[in-house]
C-alpha cells in the first residue's frame, strides 16, 4: 500500500510537527508514505469564499501530484472534505473522480482502512477533544449531537489506545470554534467570541491539551489561548497518537 501524504498549505507552513507526526505514525503502522513535493493547497480557501471558479489550477496540481497513489491521507478533515466533494480535473477528469474516493483524513484512514485495534503511545495528560465541524458533519468522524442515532467517535476510539490519557467531557460537545476560513476575519467579532467560548468550555472542564483532527480549528483556539496567556496547549491528534514510548 502506497500512501501519498497531503500536508495542507497552512500545516506545511505553520505546523510542520503535525505533518511529521502523521508521517511517522503511518510509517510505524507499516505504511509506505511519500510526500509529493509539487502539492500546495486543496483550494478550499477560495471555494468557501465563493471563488470556486478559481480553484482549477489547484485541482490540476493536486490530481497530478496524487493520481499514482493507492490512498491520499491528510491531517485535516476540512481540506479532505473539500477535496472529496469538489475535486475536478479538466485534463484528467476520471483520475480526479477516482481520487475523490481515495482521499482520507488521518483518523478515518486509521479506523476504516488500516482498522487498527491497538496503538503504542503514551500521553499522561487531561485532553479535550474538539470535534471539528467538517470532520464531524462532513466526514462523520463522530456522531452528531443533533441526530437521533447511536453515538460513536473515531478520534476518541483512537485516543483511548493511548496510555495515561484522560479525556475530559465538555458542556457542548460539538459546537463550532468559529474559525470558518475567511469568516475569521470577515466576521471578526462573532468568530472571536465563538473561539473564546469553545476554549473556555475546555479550560473549565480541566483540559491541559485540546486536540482534534483539524488544525485550522486548533490554530484558531491556540490564537485565543495564547492571547489569554493560558497554559493550555493545542496538539493535532497525530502528535498524541505518535507520542511517548
Amino acid at each position: 500500500m502506497k500512501v501519498g501524504l497531503f500536508v495542507p498549505c497552512y500545516v506545511d507552513q505553520f505546523y510542520p510537527q503535525a505533518g511529521i507526526a502523521t508521517l511517522e505514525l503511518l510509517e510505524k503502522l507499516g505504511v509506505e508514505v511519500e510526500f509529493p513535493e509539487r502539492q500546495t493547497c486543496c483550494g478550499q480557501p477560495m471555494a468557501n469564499s465563493g471563488f470556486s471558479h478559481l480553484t482549477g489550477d489547484c485541482d490540476e496540481l493536486f490530481t497530478e501530484s496524487f493520481a499514482g497513489y493507492d490512498y491520499v491521507v491528510a491531517p485535516s478533515g476540512s481540506c479532505v472534505l473539500h477535496l472529496k466533494e469538489h475535486l475536478h480535473s479538466k485534463k484528467n477528469p476520471s483520475a480526479a473522480e477516482d481520487l475523490r474516493g481515495r482521499i482520507y483524513e488521518l483518523v478515518e484512514f486509521l479506523t476504516d482502512i488500516l482498522q487498527i485495534k491497538s496503538l503504542k503511545a503514551r500521553f499522561p495528560h487531561k485532553v479535550g477533544v474538539h470535534q471539528s465541524c467538517h470532520g464531524l458533519r462532513g466526514l462523520h468522524l463522530s456522531q452528531m449531537s443533533e441526530l437521533v442515532a447511536p453515538g460513536f467517535s473515531k478520534p476518541e476510539y483512537l485516543l483511548n489506545f493511548v496510555e495515561g490519557i484522560e479525556l475530559i467531557s465538555l458542556n457542548r460537545k460539538d459546537e463550532c470554534c468559529g474559525f470558518g476560513g475567511t469568516f475569521c476575519v470577515a466576521e471578526e467579532a462573532v468568530s472571536s467570541k465563538m473561539g473564546k467560548d469553545r476554549v473556555s468550555d475546555h479550560v473549565q472542564n480541566g483540559a491541559e491539551y485540546i486536540t482534534g483532527a483539524d488544525l485550522s480549528c486548533l490554530m484558531h483556539m491556540e490564537g485565543i489561548l495564547k492571547r489569554q496567556k493560558s497554559g493550555v496547549k493545542v496538539l493535532h491528534i497525530a502528535e498524541i497518537l505518535n507520542a511517548g514510548e
Binding site: C9, Q13, A47, V185, M194, D197
Partner: protein, 463 residues
C-alpha cells in the same frame, strides 16, 4: 468614533451589526445561553422519539412532492376553499398582498385590526403599509406585541422578542400599558398584556392570521400558536384574513401528523403547540379570505440548487442551533427572517441587499442537521456564495486577493519560495500577518512561524 467605525464596517451588513451586538459580552452570553437552552429542549424532545429521523425524512419527501407539483396542489386547494365558502386571492408580490388586505379593510370600513403571528406579513412589511394608509394594527402574539411596542422588527421567527430581557419588557409595559415602574415579574407583565389584548380582541372587527399548513384535499388551513391568539382574533372578528406563502401546501389531511409532531418539537421542544387550529369555512355571518402569496417563491422554485429552501416550516430550530445567530442576534441579519434559513431565502428576494448573509456562517452544518424537513441549508449557503461572486456582489479587493491566492497555489515553486521567505505566502491566506489593523489579531495571536516548513524538513530528512 463608534459611528465612524460602524460606518466603515457597513452598518447595513451582518458583520458590522454583529460587531455592535458583541460590544456587550455579558449580553451575548445571555443571548447564547437562552437560545442554547431552547436547542437543548429540542434535543430532548427529538431523542424521546426513536422514529425522529424517519419523521424528518418523510416530511422532507412530502414537501418534495409538493414542490414538484405545486401548481396542481394550489389549484386543488383553491377549488376546495371556494366550495367551503372562502374567498381566495392571489398575490404576485408583497405590494399586491398588502393592497388586497387594504381593499378588504376598505370594503368593510375598518381601520383597526388584530393580527396573529405571520412571518409572511413581516416579509411584506404589511404593518408599515397599513400604518401609512391610516390603519392601526395590533399584533396579538405576546412577543410580537412587545417588539411592536418597541418599534422593532422581530429578531426570531418563533421567539420574536428573545433579544429582550424581562426588565426591558417591564419598562416598555410601564410606558405603554401602565404597569408599575420597575415591575419585571413575567407573570405580572403577562397579565397586563392579557388584559390589554383582550380589549383589542373584543373590539376589532377584522383579524389576520398566518397559515402553518394548508391542506389541498380539503381546502382547510391550520394555524399553530401557543397563546390561542389566532383563535381569539378570528373567532371574535367579522372578517378573517389568512395570509399564506404558496409553499405552505400539504397534499392530504393525514400528512399533517408528520408536520405537527416535528414543528413544536423542533421549535421549542414541546410535543405539540398548545393550539393547532383548523379553519375550513367561515361561521355564519363571517367572511373568510385566503391570500396566496408568491413574492419570489416561484423564482426560488426555479433555482434548482435553492428550491429545497421552500420546504421550510418556520420552526426556527436552525436559528437556535446556529452558533453565529446566537452570538450576533436576529437583527444583525437585517431581514424579516434571520439566521441560516433567512440567509438562504433573502438573496432570492434581493441579491445585492443580502449579499452579506450567506457569508455570515462558518458552514458548520448544524442547521441542516436540526432542520425537520432536511433542508441542506449549509450547502445552499456555500452555493449562494458562488452565485453572489459570479454576479459581482463581493468587493473587488476580496476578488483581487482571491486571484493572488489562486495564483500562488497554482505555482508549487513560488509557494515554496514564498513560504521560505518569512512565510509571506500567508498574507494571501485568511489569517493575515500580525498587526493591529488585522482583525485576526484583535483577540487572537498568530501561530508562531516554525524554523522550517514541513516540505523543508522532508527535503532535509527524507530525500
Amino acid at each position: 468614533m463608534v459611528k465612524e467605525e460602524t460606518q466603515h464596517k457597513g452598518l447595513t451588513e451582518h458583520s458590522g451589526l454583529a460587531d455592535i451586538f458583541n460590544r456587550d459580552e455579558q449580553r451575548v452570553n445571555w443571548h447564547d445561553e437562552t437560545l442554547w437552552f431552547v436547542r437543548s429542549k429540542r434535543d430532548k424532545a427529538a431523542h424521546s422519539l426513536p422514529e425522529w429521523e424517519l419523521l424528518r425524512e418523510t416530511a422532507s419527501q412530502i414537501k418534495h412532492n409538493v414542490l414538484s407539483d405545486l401548481d396542481t396542489y394550489l389549484q386543488q386547494f383553491e377549488e376546495q376553499a371556494l366550495i367551503n365558502g372562502v374567498t381566495v386571492h392571489w398575490a404576485a408580490d408583497a405590494r399586491e398582498h398588502n393592497q388586497i388586505v387594504h381593499s378588504i379593510l376598505k370594503k368593510h370600513e375598518i381601520n383597526r385590526m388584530v393580527k396573529s403571528k405571520s412571518m409572511l406579513t413581516e416579509e411584506c412589511h404589511l404593518n408599515e403599509y397599513l400604518k401609512e394608509h391610516g390603519v392601526e394594527v395590533i399584533d396579538t402574539d405576546l412577543g410580537e406585541r412587545i417588539v411592536q411596542l418597541a418599534e422593532e422588527p422581530p429578531s426570531h421567527i418563533v421567539l420574536p422578542c428573545i433579544h429582550k430581557k424581562k426588565e426591558e419588557i417591564g419598562e416598555l409595559f410601564h410606558t405603554h400599558l401602565g404597569t408599575a415602574a420597575g415591575e419585571s415579574d413575567p407573570q405580572v407583565l403577562t397579565e397586563a398584556a392579557r388584559q390589554h389584548l383582550r380589549e383589542s380582541f373584543l373590539t376589532r372587527r377584522l383579524a389576520l392570521t398566518g397559515v402553518n399548513f394548508a391542506v389541498a384535499e380539503t381546502g382547510e388551513f391550520v394555524v399553530c400558536t401557543n397563546e390561542g391568539n389566532a383563535d381569539m382574533g378570528s373567532h371574535l372578528a367579522d372578517v378573517h384574513i389568512a395570509s399564506m406563502g404558496i409553499e405552505k401546501i400539504i397534499p392530504r389531511r393525514k400528512d399533517l401528523g408528520f408536520f405537527l409532531r416535528l414543528l413544536a418539537r423542533s421549535a421549542t421542544g414541546q410535543p405539540i403547540t398548545t393550539y393547532s387550529s383548523h379553519f375550513r369555512k367561515p361561521r355564519a355571518g363571517q367572511e373568510m379570505h385566503i391570500i396566496l402569496v408568491d413574492n419570489g417563491r416561484t423564482v426560488q422554485l426555479g433555482r434548482e440548487d435553492f428550491r429545497n429552501s421552500l420546504k421550510c416550516i418556520r420552526c426556527g430550530a436552525c436559528m437556535n442551533t446556529c452558533p453565529v445567530y446566537r452570538r450576533s442576534g436576529g437583527h444583525s441579519y437585517h431581514n424579516a427572517i434571520a439566521g441560516p434559513i433567512g440567509s438562504i431565502l433573502a438573496p432570492n428576494l434581493d441579491m445585492k441587499a443580502y449579499a452579506d448573509l450567506p457569508f455570515a456562517s462558518t458552514l458548520c452544518g448544524s442547521c441542516s442537521n436540526v432542520c425537520p424537513v432536511k433542508i441542506d441549508i449549509h450547502d445552499q449557503l456555500y452555493k449562494w456564495r458562488q452565485v453572489l461572486v459570479k454576479e459581482g456582489h463581493v468587493s473587488p479587493v476580496k476578488a483581487m486577493g482571491m486571484k493572488a491566492m489562486a495564483f500562488t497555489f497554482a505555482m508549487p515553486r513560488f509557494f515554496a519560495f514564498a513560504g521560505k521567505a518569512g512565510r509571506v505566502v500567508m498574507k494571501y491566506l485568511p489569517f493575515v500577518v500580525s498587526n493591529k489593523l488585522n482583525p485576526w489579531y484583535k483577540e487572537r495571536e498568530m501561530p508562531k512561524p516554525p524554523k522550517e516548513s514541513f516540505r523543508e524538513w522532508y527535503k532535509r530528512e527524507r530525500r
